[in-house]
Amino acid sequence: MKFDAIIMGGGLTGLTAGIALAQAGRDVAVVSNGQSTLHFNGGTLDLLGCDEAGNAVRNPLNAIDALSDNHPYKKVGDVKALAEKAQRLLDGAGIATEGNAEKNHWRLTPIGGMKPAWLSLKGMATIDDPDHLPWKSVAVVNIVNYLDFLSPFVAEALRERGVQVDVKEFTTPELDEARKSPSEMRATNIAKVVERQDLTQTVADAINYCLDKEYDMVLLPAVLGISSGERGDQLLQLIDTPAAFVATLPPSVPGVRMQTLLRKRFQQLGGTFIVGDQVTGGRFEGDKLKCVTTAKLEGSVLEAENFVLATGSFMSRGLVADYNHIYEPALGVDVDDNGLNRANWAALEVTDPQPYMETGVRTDEHLRCSKDGTTIANLYAAGSILSGHNGIKRVDASGVDMITALQVANNILNS
């Protein structure tokens, strides 16, 4: 099979690159093992939330200049333009967002933390300034026996900031379907039950019933709308007071929704999504990658003009650390391991910056990979597989995914 471009990895990075290339009329295939870190997403995207000194960033675009030179943002052109393009791309996929690249807002975490964010999915609770919350009275409403939304924690965090908070819970007999097995009370299962039985009105009634007075804001666990944002919008409208969602523990409904909608969009644009498979190797000729093999396409190969490596970091198996070294398992491209050996991949305290997270695939200024020291002219890398950034400490993981994916798409289109 032959394509204009083959993208290895079907998460946020791979699908962003895939959509951008497909929109430009290219024939693109995405090879995905079916996993995506979007399943752990909190319904927001971050561009740059924390500078290298550990301080929260107000204006991500301004703060990018101060990042060290090996940060992936230093290899992209106009971050502002790409950020706007990313937001339009999401919008085109049916993922409505709020926010912009010049001013971070804040999201509420499932345990009441507040973290800087660039874009939040419509309907998610957001805050402009954590020191001055926009609400005087809030009801934090959970589903009875749902353990993945820590309503007392969220309530205490708000109370500390001077908000009057009541913790409420609701249920409906129909939700018992999600309780059939004790391990099924998870966000995505609840979402499926609500969709299957069309329970939005029932759930709204139950929530309204448990609210005995007016609140400035009702905060709900984000367990609605796995295939589209509509059901969540509907629910919020059916609630008598202003209401918004807060992310839950994984699996994340807003995250799964983003993944689903991006994939749908890619396929609508004519992209080929090969799921449940992964690239196992490639044939290099000179400074070009000619084709790749996959685990399931026995005997046949995938050929393309250009390739994008977007298989993610260690947790996605895009990078592997074995007993002695860090490597990229699909194609064996060169890795920046920053001269580390196993004893110092990991720092002693869990919240220390972990050196292994800064390792990753080595790229040139055009985000092209190299193999055995030779730059491969038609093989690009994007997203968290890139070396030079720590997505957790910088709060820039999804930004790096989308911005570098769009830059790679541009580089391919301009090549």
């Binding site: 973290k115 353990l147 309780r179 972990q354 292994y356 997505g391």
Partner: protein
């Protein structure tokens, strides 16, 4: 005496909530003594919770230490009766590899037989059939009655039984002074490590059962015990590679025992002398990991491709013989010190040395001595009466759910006290280990649970392959609902995750590194817990 004085007075104070202290408290209470057990952190925080979980047959000591071997096999048979719900009868193999001297096997079997340990030479092919994970190059094998035992469960069962017999038990209470009057220990001063409050308690006999920290307790009382902290590091693997204990048939050496425990297996140990000051914060070094892995693969080659969940280290309380001031002559046997005859300090006993295996015998010896001093003649019954959870029972119902079976396995007959049958109690907190909300509540109410680490030791929450990815957070929510404020729960959660990391960090490669990154993505990325804690590190002296 006023009422409050009566409440502060005991026959016996036992210092140390490891298996020795718990066993001693049980024995003393069963003899009718008024007992107070005090522990500065949690039960099984020290060496008790940091070993193989091996129920020795004694075979390991048969050649080098006949007495220890005899003690082991006797206690092994006793624990099978009294602690059934803590023991898994796996049997063990002592294998001879090509590089070992096969001639040692005959001596080994003869010495085992002399000590009363069933030791059956089997054909290497039969050994492979019995235990497919064993190194196929083996040239000899002996089958012995080794088994695996859950030290957390065993300690808790001893504490519960002590309480059923009237003992009081205080965790997070640290001895900060020993009170001496006219050449006699009359009590101890305690500090509550949760709130800093101090109080004094009195007893006619104070028993020092504080493991390696016993040397510091003795020092507080002005007497000297020559102890040599020996750090032993171990690795836990992500699944149960072997179903029988595998040992090397040679003189005991490093990393030559592989024990199946529950759903995992453990290789160990190394042995390094360390300064006593380091015993509160031991780290497994890269060199130790290397040695454990290399030696472990000789027992079961598939360990090389099995995920290592974590590494941890404990400290053996080795004691120098009193008649050897140089400290070179180390005893691994039981050491009972009557400080009245030894140092002229009445009312103070130390029980140390020994092994987890022989905890009951150690408890019996020191309780006998305490009873003698108190004029109590009642005989020891701890070898005959089953521990709570191990009473005669009907086998578990086959219709039990996964979580009910798991809970039954953990709590034995005490499982009746776990509420279930409704949506609230049946909701699963930990999917790996099958821990329900009902079981968490039971542990909080009955098993002295104040934080997530306590909860892990009672229920295995966070011990599974994910090492607490989501269950720790859910459990924090359940605990918060019940009695704690949210900030305390968040600090607790952060401390728990750091404690899990401390064990993963030395083995952070392969799947463990990938899992660590996922955990960081969830706890720091999604939840933002790193921005939410009030630093409270000291309390988390943990693995």
């Amino acid at each position: 005496m006023t009422k409050s004085e009566v409440n502060n007075h005991y026959d016996v104070i036992v210092i140390g909530g490891g298996i020795t202290g718990a066993g001693t408290a049980r024995d003393c209470a069963m003899r009718g003594l008024k007992v107070l057990l005090v522990e500065r952190f949690d039960y099984s925080t020290g060496a008790t919770g940091r070993n193989h979980g091996l129920m020795h047959s004694g075979a390991r000591y048969a050649v080098t230490d006949h007495e220890s071997a005899k003690e082991c096999i006797r206690e092994n048979m006793t624990l099978r009766k009294i602690a059934r719900h803590c023991v898994e009868e796996t049997d063990g193999l002592f294998i001879t590899l090509p590089e070992d001297d096969l001639g040692f096997q005959a001596t080994f079997v003869q010495k085992c037989t002399e000590a009363g340990i069933r030791a059956e030479v089997i054909d290497p092919k039969q050994a492979i059939a019995l235990e497919p994970s064993v190194n196929p190059d083996l040239i000899g094998a002996v089958r012995v009655p080794d088994a695996s035992i859950d030290p957390f469960r065993l300690t808790m069962a001893n504490v519960l039984d002590a309480q059923l017999h009237g003992a009081e038990a205080l965790v997070y209470h640290e001895v900060i002074d020993i009170l001496i009057e006219q050449g006699r220990v009359i009590g101890v001063k305690l500090r509550n490590n949760h709130n800093g409050e101090e109080r004094t308690v009195y007893a006619q006999v104070t028993i020092n059962a504080a493991g390696i920290w016993g040397s510091l307790i003795a020092q507080m009382a002005g007497v000297k015990i020559n102890m040599f902290p020996a750090k032993g590091s171990l690795l836990i693997f992500g699944h149960r590679v072997n179903h029988m204990v595998i040992n090397r048939c040679r003189k005991p050496a490093n990393a030559d025992i592989l024990v199946p425990d529950d759903a995992v297996c453990v290789i160990g140990t190394t042995s390094v002398r360390v300064p006593i000051e380091t015993c509160d914060d031991l780290r497994v070094t890269p060199e130790e990991v290397e040695e454990l892995l290399a030696e472990g693969m000789k027992l079961a080659p598939s360990l090389g491709s099995t995920r290592i969940l974590r590494g941890y280290a404990g400290v053996r309380p080795l004691v120098a013989s009193d008649d050897d001031p140089s400290g070179r002559s180390i005893s691994r046997g039981i050491v009972t010190l009557d400080h009245e005859t030894r140092d002229g300090l009445a009312g103070f006993l130390t029980i140390t040395g020994g092994k987890m295996m022989t905890y009951r015998l150690m408890a019996e010896e020191v309780t006998d001595l305490a009873c003698k001093k108190l004029g109590v003649t009642k005989a020891c019954e701890t070898a005959d009466k089953p521990l709570p959870g191990s009473e005669p029972q009907t086998p578990p119902n086959r219709k039990y759910s996964f979580s009910q079976r798991a809970s039954y396995g953990r709590h034995g007959t005490l499982d009746w006290a776990v509420n279930r049958g409704d949506n609230t109690n049946d909701a699963l907190v930990c999917e790996c280990e099958g821990v329900s909300v009902g079981e968490v509540k039971y542990a909080i109410e009955k098993l002295h649970v104040y934080n997530l680490i306590n909860l892990r030791r009672r229920t295995r929450v966070g011990m599974g392959t994910c090492q607490g990815e989501l269950c720790a957070c859910r459990a924090a929510g359940v605990m918060c609902d019940r009695e704690q404020g949210a900030q305390k729960s968040i600090d607790d959660l952060a401390g728990f995750m750091n404690e899990r990391w401390k064990g993963m960090q030395p083995v952070a490669w392969g799947d463990t590194l990938a899992e660590a990154q996922l955990t960081a993505t969830i706890y720091q990325g999604l939840l933002g817990i790193d921005t939410m804690t009030k630093e409270r590190r000291k309390e988390y002296y943990e693995i």
